[in-house]
Amino acid sequence: MTHPGPELPRPATDAPPAPQDDHAPPAPHDGPPSDAPPAPHDHAVGGVEPRRRLHPLSPALHGAKSLVVVVAGLSWSTLSRVGFGWFAAMATVLALGATVLAVVSWYNTGYHVVGRELRVYEGLLWRRTRAIPLERLQAVEVVRPLLAQLTGLAELRLEVVGGGKTEAPLAYLGVAEAAALRQRLLALAGPAPHPGTAPPQPSASAGPTVAPVPPGRALHAVANRDLLVSQLLTPQAFLLPFGVAFVVAQFLSEGSWSFIAVASTITAMAGVLLQPIRRVLDDWNFRLARDEGTLRVRNGLLETRAQTVPLNRVQTVGVTWPLLWRAKGWLRLRLEVAGYSGGEADDRNRPDRLLPVGDQETGERIVAEVLPGVRLSGLATGLPPARARWLRPLGWRAVGAGLDERVFAARSGLITRQLTVVPYARIQSVRVTQGPAQRRLRLATVHADTAGGAGAAALDRDLDEAWWLAAELTARAHAAHRAR
């Protein structure tokens, strides 16, 4: 059964020599679903590989997750109204119901890899089969929420071009299985398969025993202390003491200290602080590594994430200098991958972290790594003409745009300074827009649209310059595109 050859996934699909192997795995499929990590690591070599189920513990995890949602949904006021016993009973009933549904959905969910596609089957009444073409894969992420960490499970998320949101979160798989599947999907997603070359996942069955992310070449590790300090230097954390003081004063003056009021206040505070706290939890232990052509990001305290982003899928890199960080000289780096529309409400799931906090020198190094040949400090941006002052009296010196050798860079923001870097090869279209006020001043804005994120915009350029810029961007995008 220990086949050394799960590689060559494609050419072997209809190879007849291994029909026996092919028929062996489906048998256990009916009985105890092919679940646990140990056995099924070598996939069937020939024919269509059997459909596999998610880990049998997943319904339990979904149920536990829904318990949290239910409790939050019932809220404090319900608790106070019905008393603890009823509250617990209601929560249990609802959570049990959710768990039953999760079991049903688990029973009907399956996935397998066919050729260069991942197929995911779901649904009892409304059947849904999604075929995810792997050549369109933009990034893979292994997420391990707290509960999943305790149970040794992981969720696999795939980002595909054109998907409004994350496609096919496979929740949950065994850690080893998730790692192996990720390896395999990335190998399949790579540039067109070269049957001759060494298959990139020879160790797919060896890897799972170690951490989910093979180390690669470490690029950077963010010190947790810096992360904490950086999140204390956010407006929310800064203003919190005033908020607390205000609320306490309110309470003292009214003299009413009901449990509900206090609990609600604490909830509200938590809401305000949610973003910085989340950032700290999410970016804890942030590790960046590079492995061949992919970027590997690991982060998270309660919920660890391991993202794998092929470098050639990076659409834009954004640099942010928040106001309060400037004293420290810190910056934040983000990257945009195709496949994320802004529509996804929960931006935690965007694989856009490149550096949660770091100094100029670190940022420089990482940018050079992600976009070879780009020096962050060497990106010169020219100011718009002085008459743009009429449109942005304070911030006109904060905007700018520049053409570098390989990238288009646009700067904006007075308080939170931002720089967006778009490689010419990633420009999808160029737009020139001119509002009524801009027309009076003979100004225009040039946008470079990219597949992920908002692209970059050269704000309020002189009209002639805007035409020139648009032409130049188009020409450079064309040339860069053809050169690839």
């Binding site: 071009v161 054109g162 899928r313 659409q315 195709a338 802004g342 040949g373 060497g378 990106l379 010169a380 941006t381 020219g382 745009a401 520049g402 053409l403 570098d404 050798e405 390989r406 010419y424 090869a425 990633r426 999808q428 279209s429 160029v430 737009r431 020139v432 827009t433 001119q434 509002g435 009524p436 027309r439 003979r442 946008h447 649209d449 990219t450 597949a451 908002a454 692209g455 050269a458 002189d462 009209l463 002639d464 310059e465 035409w467 020139w468 810029l469 648009a470 032409a471 130049e472 188009t474 020409a475 450079r476 995008a477 064309h478 040339a479 860069a480 595109h481 053809r482 050169a483 690839r484």
Partner: protein
């Protein structure tokens, strides 16, 4: 700047180019751009609506029947609003409804004028490597979409458009912000444009 066309006020450098070696890398340095059709007559650009590179671009305008489509749409909208306001006025008799009625009529009249002008402004041009679309009166927009970046082409025609024998062609790229929609085309022209775009797109396609 090295890449400026001779004769003409220099289009400003947008930022100093790195002093590094001239175009060894794939993206061309400025000299390569000098040959680009776009940079030639730039200086001769007349101040007007978004109409760049007049000598090299042949703008095609959309059918003026689009005016009727737009006006009918506008009339339907204004009609509904007016009806609501009139009923409100009749029932309550408050003078505010009357004022609103007048305002809506005025706004409608103004929209009629701008619609007529906006349709005349709407235009597209097929260049060697990209499609240009311009539109908008108040906020003027020009989109440059390289054929190679095209993901798919939509041809659509609503009932109102069909009544006037018109169709809309829309070019989609992987970027959500791309805005290349050409309304008011004759079906034959729409089909031609679609076929040409798909052919060119296939020729040059590289996707992302």
């Amino acid at each position: 700047m090295t890449g400026e066309p001779p004769g003409g006020p220099p289009p400003h450098p947008v930022g100093p180019h790195p002093v590094g070696p001239p175009p060894t890398a794939p993206p061309p340095g400025p000299p390569a751009v000098a040959g680009h059709p776009a940079s030639g007559p730039l200086a001769a650009y007349p101040p007007g609506p978004l109409e760049p590179w007049p000598a090299t671009v042949r703008w095609q305008s959309v059918s003026t029947d689009l005016i009727w489509v737009e006006l009918l749409r506008l009339a339907a909208l204004v009609g509904v609003v007016l009806l609501g306001l009139a009923v409100g006025w009749a029932v309550s008799g408050h003078w505010l409804f009357g004022a609103a009625l007048g305002a809506v009529v005025l706004a409608g009249a103004w929209r009629v004028v701008t619609t007529v002008r906006a349709v005349h402004v709407w235009g597209y041009a097929e260049r060697e490597n990209d499609l240009l679309v311009r539109h908008g009166l108040l906020v003027r927009r020009l989109s440059i979409v390289p054929y190679s970046r095209m993901q798919f082409v939509d041809v659509s025609a609503g009932p109102l458009e069909r009544a006037f024998d018109l169709a809309t062609v829309q070019l989609h790229t992987a970027a959500a912000a791309s805005d290349a929609r050409v309304p008011g085309l004759r079906p034959a022209e729409a089909a031609r444009l679609r076929d040409r775009l798909t052919a060119l797109g296939e020729d040059r396609a590289e996707g992302l």
